[in-house]
Symmetry: C2
Subunit: 267 residues, 2 copies
């Protein structure tokens, strides 16, 4: 069994599931948002009639701690092409994350009926990218990088060198360290695997995700995932961030958008 499946395992159900928020998938002491959403999605998939998440929309209420958690699942619809369930992740009775999960059946091979011209992102090859480091002096430990192999486009790592690009942009390759092949649940993780784009505005403090929506658009081929993050507006301490995930076959397999906070440290 792979680390990601162990860390997102749920037991019990139906209705009420138990899980452990794994300390191995944290940024400092805060669990990664994509990881939490994958955990919530796994619980929902335990109670719907379709195999794949198609659309996951969540709001993050407060960061969970590593340790035991409860996931309450309420089925909302059982349709022919889509089933929907609500998931509430709580600790000690306090709701921390609420998600709506629409599940369906993703096809393996069908070509898009239409796709905007442009194709996969123009990322440098993996071996010309910079490997994400769990330990960087002066920063919190990124336990999640023990599990995710992240290779960042040198053009978007300025913040780590004291020269942020000044744009809400981040690009890189992502795969599991232990060779687990990607699947739709892994894509829910992958959309939130790179450092936040706010780093490239020079804000290197934690960027709390308030809302995150993921559309799953295809079954990913084995291999590296190319992730491209891009934001449009930072205003009043909030910024938006779009993520695209492209598989090794050059197919767009996930689209995500999040609203997150970015506030400079007081001078």
């Amino acid at each position: 069994m792979h680390a990601f499946d162990l860390a997102t395992a749920v037991r019990g159900g139906p209705g009420s599931w138990k899980a452990t928020v794994d300390e191995g998938w944290t940024i400092g002491d805060r669990p990664n948002g994509g990881y939490l959403l994958a955990l919530a999605t796994r619980a929902a998939l335990g109670e719907v009639d379709h195999p794949h998440p198609m659309v996951v929309s969540a709001q993050f209420l407060a960061p969970p701690a590593a340790g035991p958690a409860e996931l309450e699942v309420a089925p909302l619809r059982a349709g022919r092409s889509l089933s929907t369930a609500r998931v509430t992740l709580s600790q000690d009775g306090r709701p921390l994350l609420e998600a709506l999960v629409g599940a369906g059946h993703l096809d393996t091979d069908r070509a898009p009926e239409w796709q905007r011209p442009g194709g996969p992102p123009d990322l440098p090859p993996v071996d010309e990218c910079v490997r994400g480091q769990a330990d960087i002096p002066g920063r919190v430990r990124l336990n999640i990088l023990d599990h995710l192999d992240v290779r960042l486009d040198p053009a978007t790592i300025g913040s780590f060198l004291g020269r942020p690009s000044g744009r809400l942009e981040m690009r890189g390759w992502v795969r599991f360290q232990d060779g687990r092949p990607p699947d739709p649940l892994a894509l829910v993780q992958a959309v939130d695997a790179l450092p936040p784009t706010s780093f490239e505005l020079g804000i290197t403090s934690w960027a709390p995700t308030v809302a995150l929506t993921v559309y799953l658009r295809g079954l990913p081929a084995p291999g590296w995932l190319a992730c491209v993050l891009r934001g449009q507006l930072w205003r009043d301490g909030w910024f938006d961030e779009d993520a695209e995930v492209w598989d090794a076959g050059g197919r767009l397999v996930a689209q995500a958008r999040q609203l997150a906070g970015a506030r400079p440290r007081p001078a």
Copy 2:
């Protein structure tokens, strides 16, 4: 009192609210998704401590009928900068729409800390655009256009002339017919006011919205709203659609994304 406020009025609460799904805001016999989301958002705002919707994420389970509806509101968080509530819109005990509403305080005048270069869309002037018609021969009646004044960019109305552009794109101006000035609730409506972009792929049947997320980014100035819709991928009968809404002052005031269905009629 303006038509939009009447049509989104809720009474009762806390916990359980009553409303009427207004037949004046329909496409054929189906209520418009942005209208329904504004109605749900209004109920949530009745139970949180902040005045403005900041982020609304919803999934549509089945289309409501015009007529009485119940809105169950569950507060989930009461924070300093953000309060969050869940809303379930039901008819006859059946959940039809579920939404998470994060409310905060939108500032009036503060300039963005950063914004992607590009600025407001390059729309033709209002009087060079084509007015949306409630009655088009051979199509369902668009009651909503009795209330919304929609002016479409001639470059994106090919589907109405039998010459769809072949791209997921739609652009136009939107305001209320009765002069009601825009506010954040109106923006929740405006993100879903134009015809679906799938029309321009030649699919002119109803495009059922499965999920819709709206980020409110500023208080809109009085006047026309410029709406720009753009999608990236139509695959297996589903397409994504991003909406930007810019106010009369040239400020980006809302961003939205939806996943919707588009299936050609069988030949």
